[in-house]
Symmetry: C2
Subunit: 433 residues, 2 copies
C-alpha cells in the first residue's frame, strides 16, 4: 500500500523544492562552532547552551537568516525568530528547532530542524512563493538543558511555563539564568515578555532526527510523530543493613543491592508485560557504603517510564509497586520510591499529522506513524497551538553522540516534507468552510 502510493506520488510529484546540497553545506558550516580540535564533521560537536560556541553559532545563523530575506529578532529568553510576511493578517505558522548540543554530541539533533527551516525559507524565496500566513523560523534557547538540568528553556519561556524563581537558580558554575541571559544581550527582567500570546500562532512544526532506530531499521523515509511521550521519574531507595561481607552468613543478610537488582529486573519485566512502545529504564545505581568487603546497606536507583498514554504508565507503575513490595518482604529490606517529576504526554494535532502524511506521499516518501520517545520544544508549544513533528532516520538509532548521523538525502527529504506541509497548512487553515 505504502509502496503503491509512493510510486504513484513519485510519478506525479515534482522534483524537490529544497536544495539538498545547500542544506548539507549549511549543516557542515554550523558544525564548525564547537567542533573538537582536529576533528571533522564526523567528530561531533560540543555546543552547549549559553557557551561561547553557542553564542558564535547564533550570530552566524542570524546572519544567514537575514541573507535569506528574513526579519530577525531575539526575544527576552534568547529565542531567535526570523519572519517572512504573509499576504493576510493571519496568525503565524511557526517552525524550527534548536542548535545547542549536549557535551560531545552530534551535528544533527536540533540542527536538522533549524537549518531545514532555513532551507525551507530559502526555497520559498527561490520559488517566489507567497503564503497567506506569515511564516516564522524559531531557534529555541538551551533545549538540551545544560547549566540548569531541565531543558526546553526557550520554548518553556514562550509557553509561559517557567516558574518565578528560575532566573535566580544557580548552575554548576555558580551563574544564574539571569547572568546567562545578560550574556545573550537580554534584559532578564523582561523574561516574561518572551511568552507568545494566545492566538498568535496558527500552528507549530518541528523537523527532527528520530534519535531512535525504528525508521532506519525499517527503511522508512519519514516518521509522522503521533506525540511526545510523557516521562515519569521516581527515585527509589533500598534500605537493608551494611555488614561485614566475611562474617555475615548468606541467610542473615539484608542486602540492599540484591533487592535493587531484583527491582531493576522487575521494572523491565513489567514494562515488557504489555504490548506497545512503552519503555522503562534504570539509569544508575548508587551503593552505600560501596566497598568490596561490605554488604550494601543502602542503594538508590531511579525508575523512568515513558509512553504516549499516561494511563498506561500509571498502570505499569502500579504493577511495579506491587512487585517491589514482594521483593522488600522477601529480602527483608525496605524499598521506597518517591515521584520526582511527571511530564504529561503532548499529542500532535491529527489534522497536521494528515498534512504531513499527504506532503510526504506527494513527494514520494514512505511514512510511518510513531511516538517521539525523546522530549522536544514542540511539547511546550503544544500548550499554545496545534503542533506537528516530522522525523527523519537516525543511523543505528544513535544520538547524543558524535556517532549520530542522518544521510544527506534523508535530511533533505525531511526539509521537503516540512516545505510541503507548510504550504498545505497555509491552504487549509483559516479557510471558511
Amino acid at each position: 500500500m505504502v509502496l503503491l502510493a509512493s510510486l504513484l506520488a513519485f510519478a506525479q510529484g515534482p522534483a524537490r523544492h529544497v536544495n539538498q546540497q545547500r542544506l548539507w553545506a549549511t549543516l557542515e558550516k554550523l558544525s564548525e562552532f564547537g567542533r573538537p580540535a582536529g576533528a571533522g564533521f564526523e567528530g561531533g560537536v560540543t555546543r552547549v547552551g549559553f557557551s561561547e560556541e553557542d553564542l558564535a553559532a547564533r550570530g552566524w545563523l542570524m546572519q544567514q537568516m537575514r541573507e535569506a530575506g528574513l526579519e530577525v529578532r531575539v526575544d527576552p529568553a534568547g529565542n531567535i525568530f526570523g519572519k517572512r510576511a504573509g499576504s493576510e493578517k493571519f496568525p503565524t505558522i511557526l517552525f524550527g528547532s534548536h542548535i545547542d548540543s549536549v557535551p560531545r554530541g552530534g551535528n544533527f539533533d536540533g540542527d536538522v530542524g533549524s537549518l531545514g527551516a532555513l532551507e525551507v525559507m530559502r526555497a520559498l524565496r527561490d520559488g517566489k512563493i507567497a503564503t497567506r500566513h506569515p511564516l516564522e523560523i524559531v531557534i529555541w534557547t538551551n533545549e538540551e538543558g545544560h547549566h540548569f538540568g531541565r531543558g526546553l528553556l526557550g520554548s518553556s519561556a514562550a509557553a509561559g511555563l517557567l516558574s518565578a524563581d528560575v532566573l535566580e537558580r544557580r548552575d554548576e558554575e555558580g551563574k544564574t539564568l539571569a547572568d546567562w541571559l545578560r550574556r545573550y544581550g537580554q534584559d532578564p527582567a523582561r523574561l516574561a515578555d518572551a511568552r507568545i500570546a494566545p492566538g498568535a500562532l496558527a500552528a507549530y512544526l518541528e523537523l527532527h532526527i528520530e534519535q531512535g532506530g525504528v525508521l532506519d531499521e525499517s527503511k522508512i523515509q519519514i516518521g509522522v510523530v503521533q506525540g511526545i511521550v510523557g516521562i515519569h521519574w521516581w527515585t527509589c531507595t533500598a534500605s537493608g543493613f551494611a555488614n561485614h561481607a566475611g562474617t555475615t552468613p548468606m541467610n542473615r543478610r539484608q542486602d540492599a543491592l540484591a533487592a535493587a537488582a531484583r527491582a531493576a529486573l522487575a521494572v523491565r519485566e513489567e514494562v515488557r508485560a504489555e504490548s506497545g512502545r512503552q519503555v522503562g529504564t534504570i539509569g544508575y545505581v548508587r551503593v552505600e557504603p560501596g566497598a568490596r568487603n561490605i554488604i550494601p546497606g543502602r542503594v538508590e536507583f531511579p525508575v523512568e517510564l515513558r509512553d504516549l498514554d499516561a494511563a498506561k504508565v500509571l498502570r505499569i507503575w502500579a504493577r511495579i509497586e506491587k512487585r517491589f513490595a514482594e521483593i522488600a518482604k522477601e529480602e527483608n529490606v525496605k524499598l521506597d520510591c518517591v515521584p520526582l517529576q511527571a511530564d504529561e504526554p503532548a499529542l500532535t494535532d491529527t489534522a497536521i499529522q494528515n498534512d504531513i502524511r499527504a506532503a510526504a506521499r506527494a513527494a514520494g516518501y514512505s511514512t510511518l506513524d510513531l511516538p517521539s520517545g525523546a522530549g522536544h520544544d514542540a511539547q511546550q508549544i503544544a500548550k499554545l497551538a496545534p503542533i506537528g513533528m516530522i522525523f527523519v532516520p537516525s543511523r543505528g538509532g544513535i544520538s547524543h553522540s558524535p556517532r549520530e548521523y542522518s544521510a544527506p538525502a534523508d535530511v533533505a527529504n525531511g526539509a521537503e516534507v516540512l516545505y510541503r506541509t507548510i504550504l498545505l497548512l497555509d491552504e487549509r487553515l483559516n479557510r471558511k468552510p
Copy 2:
C-alpha cells in the same frame, strides 16, 4: 552434649583467673583515644592506623604494659611487644591483636584481643605463675589497612610478606609508609628487620570478637576458630551500549545494568547452591554514563567469595562464570571478569584447637567450632608458627560500627580461655614424649 560438658566443667572449674572488672575498665580507658566529641564508650571510636589518636593510645598502652611488669619494645614496623621471661630457653608463646580501628568503628575489634592479652599478663603476675616458655604480647601495626588499602601491615612485616616497594607507596594523603614509620619513631630502612626469625615462636594465639552473629544467636560463649577463610576478589565489567532511554525500544537495548543485575543475583544463587558457610558479595556497582535518561552502557562490579576451602571457592566461581556467559549472550552484552587478589585460607593448628576447647571446657564455657570470615593478623603469622584463635560473641553480629558490642562477661570469658590455653600450651609444647 555441650550442655552436659559445660555443667560438669562448671561444677569442677575454678573461679576466673582474669579480672573482668579490670579488663572492662581498661577497654573503656582505651576507648578515650579517638572517641567522637561528646560521645561515651557506646559512641564507638575513630583510631585509624598512624593517626594521632593511634599514636597516643600506643603510648598509653606501652605504659600499661610496663606497669604490668613487661619488657616493652617496638620493632621497625611499629609493632609493640611486651615480654615476660620463661624459665627455659624455649621459643616464645606470642599472643595479642591490634588497637587501630576503622573510621567510625567500635571499641571491641582488636581491642578485646589486645587488652585481653594484657589482662592475662596481669593475672599471671597476680597469681605469681611462672611458665617454661617466654610469653609475649604483640600489638600489630595498622591491621585495618587505613592509608594503604591493604591491612595486616605489622603482621605482614613480621611474616616477611611485604613487597619491596611498600615503603614508597603513597596513600590518599600523599604520604608514604616510610613517612608514617618515621612518625612512629622508626627507621624505615630497617623495616625488613621486623621479620620474626623462623623457630622463634612456639605458637601464636589471638583472642578476637567474632564480628559475625553465629555465637550470639546460638548463645555459645567461645568460638574455636578452624581457620581464616580465603578471600578471592574479581572485578567484572558489563559492556553494553549507552543509548537514549526514550528512543531505544526495549527489544533493541544492550543494557549493561540489566546484565549486571542478573549477574549479581546469579552470584548469590551459586554461592547458596552448596551447603556450608561460604559467602559471596557484590559490594558496589559503578554505572556509566549514570543518568536517569540514558541506558547504562558500562557497569563495573566486584565479586568477592570467601571460604575455608579454596577448592570450593574455585568450584563455585566456575559455575558463576558459566552463568555469566549465558547472561552475556542473552543480554547481548559483554561480561568479563579479571581476578584482583586471592588470599589463601589460613588454617589454625588442630592441636591448639583442642587446647582451646579443653581450656574453655575446664572454665565451664560452651564452645562452637567455626571459621573466621574476616581476615586477622593471625593469618600472616600462620606462615611462621602454629596459630590458634579464640572468638567471643558480637552482639547482633555487628562490627566495624559504633554499634559493635560484646558483653563484659563474654570479653572476660575470652581472656580466661586465652589464659588457660597459654598454660596448656606451655605444658604441652617442647615436652619430650
